[in-house]
Every structure is written in structure tokens, then in C-alpha cells.
């Protein structure tokens, strides 16, 4: 009698241990990010520690920015609550490894999409969120309209950056002479430009708009519309997790399509009553795309309601309604002067 009881206890214990071990292994090896995210109840977003307009915390720890809002959009699609996005600040050097080791679900951290990065780290950049590139800032009084007019200029640039290489290439292929003034620290580059030691400053255009804010007379300086290199900034996910990749990709495309169709956070309720097939498919009153993604019918409506369409996200953080005031430029929709183009949702 005693033996059977002890035996039963042992078997029970063994089963319990086995279940615990299996659960741990499952948790560790289950690579399906959507399931992990839902179980956890939040999306872990790897973001920049502090980049004005893109991702920056205030003194109370509230994050804001374009990259931050994109991650909130993913959280809104899954949980109908943008507050379910948790932000994990990551350094540039560690960001891809941290994503690989599943410390975060998604990287939304002004990262340039390149072939090498996808191959080296087994990662995937689902879609371009922001087209950036190296450009030039110069005093308005110089009255230039294109970077091809910059021949003979003294160019201030940070040493060791791809910008320095791009500037060298650009002036060489266009047979233009220039003097390069390199500085190790970005602060010194800006100071040299602000005190008139060089005629123009080169950096990524999004960065130029941020740097301009700190000049002694921001309004006296302009940024040329040309970009001399390709820096497509995109969210990043792990390879071989297609369900998750699809959610991230179509979150961005839903926001771009919403702007194209004129659906905003302000008129979303009206849009839910629309009889236009394209609008109906977007907001989920027709079709079952949401369910096919593993979400709900109204996944895109949730995104638009809580975060807005692409243009709203742009204007609020980096565009005309923000401090940076970066013109839409290449990031304008394809039918309004830019190259932002989302595949149709049908």
C-alpha cells in the first residue's frame, strides 16, 4: 500500500518535472514570435537610445518618435492597444545580435537595409519605412539649388562614416573639386560649420534637419533636396518566422495604403461605413485578411485609430507638425511626388 503511494508520488513528480522541462524547452525553442508576443502580452521593440524625431524618451520615460510609433502600430494591430509596446534601447553595435538572440521581437531603430546585414545576421527587413540618404546643408545666402553647384566647396564631414566615403565618390564622379574637412566628433563638425569654417556640411538628411535645430541661426540654413546615397531605413525581424514578418510588413503597408485612400485616425469611424471596396478591404468590413494574418478583421482599423496613417505618423514626428520639419520628399506617396508605394490589399 505504502509502496504504491510512493510509486505514484514518484511518477507524478517525474511527470511534473518532464512537463516543466518541456515547457522551458518549448519556450526557448518556439521561434514563432507572434505566439510569444501574445503569451507575454506585449511587443518588445528594440529602439535607438535617443534620436530626436525617431525615438527618444522624455524625462518621465515616455517614448516618442517615428520608429517608436511604428512599433506601437504593430502592438495596436495585435492587442488593440498601442501601450502594449515595450521599448528596449539598444546600441548600434549590439542591435542585430540582440534581435538574433530574441531579446526583442522587432528592431525599429533607424537601421539601413543592406544585403550584407540580411546575410550576416540571418535577418529580414520587411519594407522601407523611411528613405534617407546623405545630403548637404548650407547657408541660405549661398543661394544654391542643387548639390551639383557645390564645386570648389569646403565640406565638413565626420570622419569614419559612410557619408565621408559617399561625398568623396560624389565629387569624383561629377568631376567637381572640393576640400574635405574631417572631424572625429559630430559636435566638432557642427561647430566648424556654424562658425563658417566650411561652406557646407554633409550627413544623412534626417540628421541634417536635427543638427540644424542646434545652430545659432537655424532659419538661415537650408538643406538641399538631393540625396547622394541610399540609406533606406526599415524595421528588422528574424528570418524563418514568416507569420511575424507578414504582420510587420503589412502593418507598414496598411499605414501607407490608408494615407493613399484618405483614411486617417480622425475619420476612421466614417471609413468603417465606407462602401468603397479598397477602403472596405483595408478596414476589414470586407474580406478576412486580418484572420489570415493571425489577427482580427479590424487589425488595420486598430492601427489607424490608435497611431494614424503613414502621413500622420510622419508629420507628427519628423514632418511639418514636428520640430524637425523634414519635407516629405522621397517619403511622399508615389502618386504625390515621392516613392512610398505599398502593394495593394486585395
Amino acid at each position: 500500500m505504502m509502496r504504491t503511494f510512493r510509486g505514484g508520488l514518484l511518477i507524478g513528480l517525474a511527470v511534473a518535472v518532464l512537463v516543466a522541462v518541456l515547457a522551458t524547452i518549448y519556450e526557448f525553442y518556439d521561434t514563432r514570435t507572434l505566439k510569444r508576443t501574445v503569451r507575454r502580452g506585449e511587443v518588445l521593440c528594440g529602439v535607438n537610445k535617443g534620436l530626436p524625431g525617431f525615438s527618444i524618451p522624455d524625462d518621465k520615460g515616455n517614448w516618442s518618435g517615428f520608429d517608436v510609433d511604428f512599433c506601437r502600430a504593430v502592438a495596436a494591430a495585435i492587442f488593440n492597444d498601442p501601450g502594449k509596446a515595450k521599448f528596449v534601447p539598444l546600441d548600434a553595435s549590439e542591435r542585430f545580435k540582440e534581435l538574433q538572440s530574441r531579446k526583442v521581437d522587432i528592431l525599429s531603430r533607424n537601421s539601413t537595409w543592406s544585403m550584407k546585414r540580411e546575410l550576416d545576421y540571418d535577418l529580414y527587413f520587411p519594407a522601407v519605412a523611411y528613405y534617407d540618404g546623405a545630403g548637404f546643408m548650407l547657408p541660405r545666402s549661398r543661394n544654391k539649388e542643387t548639390s551639383l553647384d557645390l564645386t570648389g566647396s569646403k565640406v565638413c564631414v565626420q570622419s569614419g562614416t559612410t557619408t565621408a566615403l559617399n561625398v568623396a565618390d560624389y565629387f569624383r564622379v561629377n568631376n567637381m573639386k572640393y576640400d574635405e574637412m574631417k572631424f572625429d566628433k559630430l559636435d566638432d563638425v557642427v561647430k566648424a560649420y556654424d562658425t563658417g569654417k566650411c561652406d557646407t556640411l554633409s550627413a544623412d538628411v534626417s540628421q541634417l534637419y536635427a543638427l540644424r535645430l542646434n545652430l545659432s541661426k537655424p532659419g538661415d540654413n537650408m538643406i538641399l533636396p538631393d540625396m547622394i546615397s541610399k540609406e533606406p531605413l526599415a524595421p528588422v525581424v528574424r528570418q524563418r518566422d514568416d507569420d511575424w514578418m507578414m504582420i510587420v510588413k503589412w502593418t507598414l503597408y496598411a499605414m501607407i495604403n490608408a494615407e493613399e485612400l484618405g483614411v486617417t485616425s480622425e475619420n476612421i469611424d466614417e471609413a468603417l461605413k465606407s462602401k468603397k471596396p479598397e477602403v472596405m478591404r483595408l478596414v476589414g468590413t470586407e474580406g478576412n485578411y486580418g484572420e489570415q494574418l493571425g489577427l482580427t478583421k479590424d487589425w488595420a482599423a486598430r492601427i489607424i485609430r490608435h497611431v494614424g496613417n503613414y502621413g500622420e505618423m510622419y508629420d507628427r514626428n519628423i514632418g511639418e507638425k514636428s520640430k524637425l520639419k523634414i519635407p516629405r520628399g522621397m517619403n511622399q506617396l508615389w502618386n504625390a511626388g515621392g516613392v512610398q508605394y505599398a502593394p495593394p490589399m486585395r
Binding site: E145, T146, V263, K276
Partner: protein, 197 residues
Amino acid sequence: MTDFRRLTGIFMAAMGMILSAPQAFAQQPDRGDEPGLIADDGYQLDPEWQKQVVYYRTTEPPGTIIVSTAERHLYLVQPGGRAIRYGIGVGRDGFQWQGLVTITNKKEWPDWTPPAEMIQRQPYLPRFMAGGPGNPLGARAMYLGTTVYRIHGTNRPDTIGTKVSSGCFRLVNNDVADLYDRVPVGTKVIIRQKPEL
């Protein structure tokens, strides 16, 4: 001579406004048109509405004007994937339109004869006002096709970026003069609207 015309215009406008003031306030006062007010040349536009060269990809040839009503911007297409962008004021809700037209006429310091429909809606407006700094059409006007609409200047630079007009597109006087010198009669003008739900 010009000064006399201007004075007459201002006088007529002022009389018109005084005579029609009670009706004007009974109706919805139109903050977009203020005949007689002299434009403040020192007015600083927000950066969003200041003239600037921007990246602009289009299949339309250089020299084409593209008006984006929703954005409140007017683009003059330039070679090399760029455009000169101006801030504009556009029509109120219900007074916006879209389509393809050409510039059919150009006038400096145009006189203003508000069209009959406008008088009907806003009876307090003058029937005629001579060109000058107090004229709501501002420094220049470009006629759009056979419509009653114009691209014109303004004596209310603070209305740039808003939707207040009866369907015209207004720029600040410096900008409209700049645009005027760049576009000939016959220029293609495309007016784009926000999509409908």
C-alpha cells in the same frame, strides 16, 4: 493715377463693408476676404509654407504646376526630379475642386470683380475693387482655364496654409510674383484633391 485708383478702391470697399456689415455678421463672416486691408509685408510664414526647392518625382514635364489641395502646397515642376514648392491657401470645404486646366491669362495688380455666386453668398463684398495692396487678389493673378478661379496673391498672408477661399488658390505676394515670372500663358495646371472615403 494708381494711387487715386487705389484710394477709390479702398473707399468703395470700405463703404461696401459698412453698408453690408449687419448682413455680414448675420451671415457667417468670411475671414478669408478682407477688402481694403493692406498686406503686411513683414509677415513671416511658417517654414512649412515658405517657398523652397524639394524632391519631386513626376512624369509631368518641367514647367507644369501641380496643386495639392490637401497638403496646401503648389508645386512648379523643375528638371532633375525636383520642384519649387509654395505654401497656398485653398477653398473651404465644399469649395474645393480638381482637374486639368491651363493658365489662360495673367494680370499684375488685378482688379477684383467678385463673381455673382460669390456676391450672393457674401453680399457684403464690393461689386468691384481696383487693383492694389488692399485688394484680396494681391499682386498677381493667373486665370485658370475658363473657370472663375485664379491663382492669385493676397492681402491676408496669415491665411496661407488654411482652407478659406471660394475655390481660388492664394499665395503671399512675393511668392505669387515669383511664380508669375516663371510661368507663361498656356502652362498646364493639375489640381489634385484628397481621395474620398
